[in-house]
């Protein structure tokens, strides 16, 4: 079982001391990438919840540069100390509260001071931002975010003393010199100084800066008392000489007092700064602020995806434009010629400084494009190459990203529309669908140019031929307005020949063939229309080829029409469904045809095409359907209805999971296996048939995290329990879903109730402890609520056993 597609951008990355490695928080693990190649070297595994903070212990002497120690803090409430060259876990400190942010000031101070301090008190002070979960249940008005001080040197940390309470846990920013730290909270910045004395009870002094807008980010100057803050409107504020009164060091106190009475330009109220200046260039919120190491420049960035370099003295600007995605973090490396900028589309760019060239990019799986309202649920933005395990994903910047699911690595990007994406602009061009042929040699995309004021709309269909060497696709054919001005609703490829079908809401479908059948070179290949068909002028909403390619099923709203794709002859019409069909899929090479519809009433139906009749149907909302090529197995991704989820007793079963993958076998209406998943909306599933003839199921969820697993083996559950237990995102609960689901199959509920014990046997192996729950007559069954709770208990027991 393989998990991947995790976000690289949940928290800032960090360079190692020799600037050759980049540590990135990826869910529950920390991944270590090589800065030279951009490939992953290793990962630190151990946390059981997302890692939120990553601090590399800086080297104080050149000799220490090879040391690879880091601290991590996570939402699971532990702080861990690692040697990431190993990788090896050195120490675990249980803080007992979810940690959202952590700073360790003494690591940044002068080396001799550290040594002195360590000798003196043998302690390492950390300031953490935690969420006080004890107050959660009492009411939402409580201040849940706490800033606390911990001593990391002691093996067991008591509840540290609380410095500040806020409504939500905030992230802590520390000055590069390690003298100050602070948080921004709404329109204020709270700053503390760090007591330099060794005394344990020395209280940090605090000051506050005010602004009229919500502050998003701020940064400390490395040497001077200067703070830069960015707000939601795009202003950058520079406060100079903060804390001369309140945070002044003892011996300077009197000297500074004299300047207090002077007029401080731009300073709000009683704020303790000398001056405040405002720079305004960003048009949208500022997310990134960072001073250069010598303090001469300020780097800022925000939603518009432009990195701006301000010369601090003059306010002159330089730009790295067109990064194409909102910036989230900007991180310096110990090597002054290297820095990295992190974008919201899951990309980490390594920059060569000071020319700001992008050296290379560590590319995670890209986020799904935000679609206009009318396309929600209609676009199919993920396609799978079944043999190689590569997924083609539409991205926001009009590209298709090829992502290897088995290696968890981006391969390449193909620009579908020749446009640049500017975050924040109105969306005028949408890539609505991507499809891959079964052998992965041809890709097809459709895009819609939305009209302005009713003019200038354009639909185009593109066929791409793969270039096996470079793992990318080149444009083979563009078809403008393939169905006049009507939108393309679906594209499907023939399983064996180079033939494709596109259906449109305009009431017709077209069969396209590639003329490279005659053994021409790839360059000459082009796709031409082979046939056009329509059925009573009804909008065509979905299409699928049968396993051997002799039958083409096209859904014309409520009916399913079967065609001979070669001769374009209507073979027969399958009866009507209640609602328009949105998805069609043949169950492997069998005669069964799966159809799904979801508006206004969701329905999953299986038709027997040889008898031309409905076999069975469920009232489930289906997000995706896939079928295996060789067997008659097929899997659907169903969204669990809200009404069912909000049910008191089921809430703890699903624990935020909103979907389920159901694996069926041919005509059998009883699912073989069920897995519950999170973020099923916008998700996609597909069978992968690797060269080992091993059938695997890939699931990509709505936020593009994915899992690849073997649907037939039980082993994967246990492996996952050990390797990947309770990762964020997807979580397996084995067969738990069935019991939870069978209550919500309205059509077949009553009939199936009798079969429950026979249902249970095929997919639950004998050694499982919960087997007994289902034995006996259904009449003797306990009520559902009770059954589920019991069932889950048994499952929990088993898990702990495995972990230990």
């Amino acid at each position: 079982m393989i998990r991947g597609g995790r976000s690289y951008v949940t928290s800032p990355p960090s360079f190692s001391n020799d600037a050759k490695k980049l540590l990135v928080c990826t869910g529950n693990t920390v991944s270590v990438f090589s800065a030279a190649t951009g490939l992953q070297i290793t990962s630190l595994e151990g946390h059981t919840a997302p890692v939120t903070t990553l601090i590399v212990v800086p080297a104080s002497t050149p000799a220490q540069k090879i040391l690879c120690y880091c601290w991590t803090a996570s939402l699971d409430g532990t702080i861990r100390h690692w040697d990431f060259s190993g990788p090896e876990l050195l120490k675990t400190i249980d803080a007992q509260l979810p940690i959202y942010s952590m700073v360790i000031p003494s690591l940044l101070s002068e080396p001799q001071q550290i040594d002195k301090r360590r000798e003196l008190s043998g302690k390492l002070v950390a300031f953490v931002s935690v969420e006080d979960i004890s107050v959660v249940n009492e009411g939402s008005k409580e201040l849940r975010g706490h800033i606390r001080r911990f001593n990391l040197a002691k093996p067991r940390v008591p509840r540290g003393d609380t410095l500040k309470e806020t409504a939500e846990p905030e992230s802590i920013v520390i000055s590069p010199s390690g003298e100050f730290f602070g948080i921004c909270h709404k329109c204020k910045i709270h700053i503390w100084d760090i007591p330099s004395g060794g005394s344990r009870h020395a209280v940090s002094r605090k000051m506050t800066l005010h602004h009229t807008k919500v502050i998003n980010a701020f940064a400390f100057h490395p040497t001077e008392r200067v703070i830069a803050a960015g707000d939601v409107t795009g202003r950058v504020l520079i406060w100079r000489g903060f804390g001369n009164r309140k945070l002044a060091l003892g011996n300077q106190k009197k000297k500074v007092r004299a300047t207090v009475d002077l007029d401080n330009p731009g300073v709000r109220g009683e704020d303790d700064t000398e001056s405040c200046t405002t720079w305004h260039w960003h048009s949208a919120e500022v997310n990134v602020l960072n001073f250069s190491s010598d303090g001469a420049y300020l780097y800022s960035g925000g939603r518009e995806g432009v990195l701006v370099v301000w010369q601090l003295d003059t306010g002159k600007k330089k730009f790295l434009p067109r990064i194409g995605s909102p910036l989230l973090y900007f991180v310096w490396s110990p090597d002054p010629t290297l820095s990295s900028v992190v974008c919201a589309d899951n990309q980490i760019h390594l920059l060569k400084m000071p020319s700001m060239e992008i050296l290379r990019t560590i590319s995670g799986i890209k986020t799904p494009p935000s679609l206009p309202r009318m396309y929600e649920g209609l676009a199919s933005t993920v396609a799978f190459d079944r043999s190689s395990g590569i997924a083609a994903l539409c991205t926001e910047n009009y590209c298709v990203q090829l992502y290897n699911l088995l290696n968890d690595r981006g391969i390449s990007e193909i620009q579908v529309c020749e446009r640049n994406h500017q975050p924040g602009d109105e969306i005028t061009v949408v890539v609505t669908a991507v499809a891959l042929s079964l052998d992965g040699s041809v890709m097809s995309t459709t895009e819609v140019k939305l009209p302005e004021d009713g003019i200038g709309g354009l639909v185009s269909l593109k066929f791409w031929a793969s270039e096996p060497d470079s793992k990318t696709f080149t444009l083979s054919t563009i078809v403008y307005e393939p169905h006049r001005d009507a939108r393309v609703s679906a594209i499907a490829f023939h399983p064996t020949r180079s033939m494709a079908v596109s259906t449109s809401f305009g009431g017709d479908f077209k069969i396209w063939v590639c003329n490279s059948d005659k053994k021409q070179t790839d360059k000459d290949s082009s796709w031409i229309c082979h046939a056009v068909g329509s059925y009573k002028k009804k909008p065509m909403t979905a299409a699928a080829f049968s396993g051997d390619g002799t039958v083409l099923a096209v859904a014309a709203e409520n009916v399913i029409t079967l065609w001979n794709p070669y001769k374009n002859i209507l073979l027969s019409v399958l009866g009507t469904t209640l609602t328009p069909v949105t998805k069609l899929c043949f169950a492997g090479k069998s005669e069964f045809l799966v159809s799904a519809s979801h508006f206004p009433r969701p329905e999953l139906s299986v038709w027997n095409t040889s008898k031309l009749s409905l076999s069975w149907s469920y009232g489930l909302r289906i997000e995706a359907v896939t079928s295996a090529v060789d067997s008659s197995a097929f899997a659907v991704l169903a969204v669990i209805p809200k009404s069912f989820k909000t049910d008191e007793s089921n809430e703890n079963i699903f624990r935020g999971r909103d979907g389920a993958i159901l694996l069926f076998n041919g005509s059998d209406p009883k699912p073989v296996s069920i897995w519950t998943v999170i973020k099923a909306k916008g998700g996609s599933i597909s069978f992968l048939e690797g060269d080992k003839s091993q059938l695997r199921l890939a699931y990509v969820n709505g936020s593009r995290e994915y899992v690849v697993f073997d649907p037939n083996s039980d082993e994967s559950h246990e492996r996952s329990a050990v390797d990947y237990d309770s990762l964020t995102g997807l979580e397996e609960t084995g067969d738990a879903g069935y019991t939870s689901l069978y209550g919500q199959l309205p059509d077949y509920d009553k009939k199936r109730m009798e079969d429950v014990d026979s249902l249970a046997t095929p997919f639950i192996s004998s050694e499982r402890p919960w087997e007994t729950i289902f034995s006996g007559s259904t009449l003797n069954f306990p009520p559902l609520q009770k059954l589920c709770a019991e069932f889950f208990e048994s499952l929990m027991e088993k898990r702990t056993a495995v972990v230990e």
Binding site: I323, Q415, R419, N420, T428, I455, G456
Partner: protein
């Protein structure tokens, strides 16, 4: 304003500059060029106009410099085949019907419609011999391939005469044709074998060594024979009659090998051409204005070219560098191609080496006092083992791309309208639609610019490729700028034209619908059966 801007693109830049490109159009389905069609189309056109009437015959001298004899009305003009300039004229009493060079190229014979065959030295005005015997117009005259003493002629009296040129006497009358004799050719392998073609549909093979005899063989073409040629092997002949060309095997007993019937009108002349690969092709011209190249080995027409006049005669120079075709309107369509001359190349090479030596000495003499000193080495070419550092190619941006890049949308639209390339204008408009700025541009346009836009819309809004966008835009422009357009005199003409265009388009659409109405039931019936 600067015309072009080159933008250096960084390799790792996340986003790129995408110039506005017009939509690609469908490529024609024509087959790619074959080497043969490339050969035949590589003749560069040189027309010789100014000849008074129909060019009835053409002949090339068999020896270098392959001078060309053109028979038109009562004149034979000699041209040099290099420059295609006229060098000498010979006049006749009547219209010249045929002309032929002797094997050494020193003499040529020509016959005219008065029935006289005359032999000229190409350097002298007066005829050397005048052969009178034909009682009707003479139609062809031919020298054998090697023999310098005899020639053969035929005419409307149906008699083929074999002449002794020196004595100006007929050696033998070859009798047998029942109608006008129009053409004939000597065998390339045997100087006494010849074929003649006549309007009695037959081609007869004669042997001049057998005195007063009948023909050796006879072939029936089926139509009046216009031309006949021996193919280079000497065993086969090709005949032209009506709109068909047929190839016959003489040795195999006069069987037809293949026939080519792709001409639409009477084929007037045949010629054997030789490709660079030394393969032979049969070239034919006809009254339909087409020249066709026929590969008789594969029975396939490999090249076809159209000329703007009915074609009467054809000639290909022996070295393959010149192709001339005579038209019925007095035009000679000549085509020349450059031949690779090995000797010349060598000469130029030696010249180069001399010059480079001169360069060498000069370079050594360069001093910083001379400006070339500072330019030295700039034109140096890399040698083979040098490692080339390639400069990245900049992206060329047009003016409207540059303006679009600066968000000067209206100016971009105006500048592309000035260019008068409709595909580009539509591409810019589509880009503006994608930026949601097209209507704003239209509402911001000044009067002159609006006139330009209306002119463009009037011309192209009914063009099928653009109408999807332009029809809607036209309507919007007229709606939004109604008050600006209304009273102005300069727009009235434009609007009138626009209205006319639209009305015409509506009419076309209606008639198309009518046609569709007629066809639809037929299709339905056809589909049912």
């Amino acid at each position: 304003m600067e015309e072009e801007l080159r933008v250096r693109l960084n390799d790792h830049q996340v986003s790129k500059v995408f110039p506005v490109k017009p939509k690609s159009t469908a490529k024609p389905v024509s087959k790619s060029e074959t080497p043969e069609s490339r050969y035949w189309s590589s003749f560069k056109n040189h027309s010789i106009p100014n000849l008074v009437s129909s060019v009835s015959a053409l002949a090339f001298s068999p020896v270098h410099p392959y001078s060309l004899a053109v028979a038109h009305s009562a004149t034979v003009s000699l041209f040099s085949s290099h420059s295609l300039s006229s060098s000498r004229r010979f006049s006749f009493r009547d219209v010249v019907s045929s002309v032929c060079f002797r094997s050494d190229g020193a003499l040529f014979a020509a016959c005219d419609l008065s029935g006289v065959v005359q032999v000229f030295d190409i350097k002298e005005r007066m005829a050397l011999r005048t052969l009178r015997s034909h009682s009707a117009p003479a139609r062809f005259v031919k020298y054998p391939f090697q023999d310098k003493l005899h020639l053969v002629s035929g005419g409307d009296d149906g008699v083929v005469k074999y002449w002794d040129v020196a004595g100006a006497t007929v050696i033998s009358d070859l009798l047998g044709h029942k109608d006008y004799v129009r053409c004939g050719d000597f065998s390339p392998v045997n100087d006494s074998m010849l074929v003649t073609g006549s309007y009695d549909h037959t081609v007869k093979v004669w042997d001049t060594r057998v005195d007063k005899s009948k023909w050796i063989a006879e072939i029936n073409h089926g139509l009046p024979v216009e031309d006949v040629v021996y193919l280079p092997s000497g065993g086969m002949i090709a005949t032209a009659g009506g709109n068909s060309v047929k190839v016959w095997d003489l040795i195999g007993g006069g069987k037809m090998v293949c026939s080519m019937e792709s001409h639409n009108k009477t084929v007037t002349s045949l010629c054997v051409g030789r490709l660079e690969s030394a393969e032979s092709r049969l070239v034919s011209v006809a009254l339909d204005g087409y020249m066709k190249v026929f590969d008789y080995g594969r029975a396939k027409v490999t090249y076809s070219m159209r000329f703007p006049a009915p074609l009467m005669s054809l000639g290909l120079s022996p070295d393959g560098s010149t192709r001339v075709i005579g038209g019925s309107n007095g035009m000679v369509f000549a085509g020349k191609k450059k031949l690779r001359d090995v000797v010349e190349e060598k000469k130029s090479l030696s010249l180069w080496s001399v010059r480079s030596q001169v360069d060498e000495t000069r370079r050594r003499a360069l001093r910083p006092t001379y400006f070339r000193y500072f330019q030295r080495g700039q034109s140096e070419k890399p040698s083979e083992e040098d490692y080339l550092v390639k400069e990245k190619k900049g992206l060329k941006l047009t003016r409207h791309d540059k303006l679009l890049k600066k968000f000067r949308h209206k100016e971009a639209l105006v500048s592309v309208l000035e260019e008068k390339k409709p595909a580009n204008v539509v591409a810019v408009m589509e880009e503006l639609v994608a930026r949601r700025k097209l209507m704003k541009c239209v509402s911001n346009m000044e009067e002159g610019e609006l006139g330009m836009l209306l002119g463009f819309l009037q011309r192209y809004c009914t063009v099928q490729r653009y109408s999807g966008l332009l029809m809607g835009l036209t309507k919007k422009v007229l709606e939004t700028r109604a008050e600006d357009i209304k009273g102005k005199t300069e727009f009235t003409g434009l609007l009138r034209n626009l209205k006319r265009e639209v009305n015409q388009e509506i009419r076309i659409q209606q008639s198309l619908l009518e046609i569709q109405g007629v066809i639809a039931p037929l299709m339905r019936i056809a589909g049912r059966s």
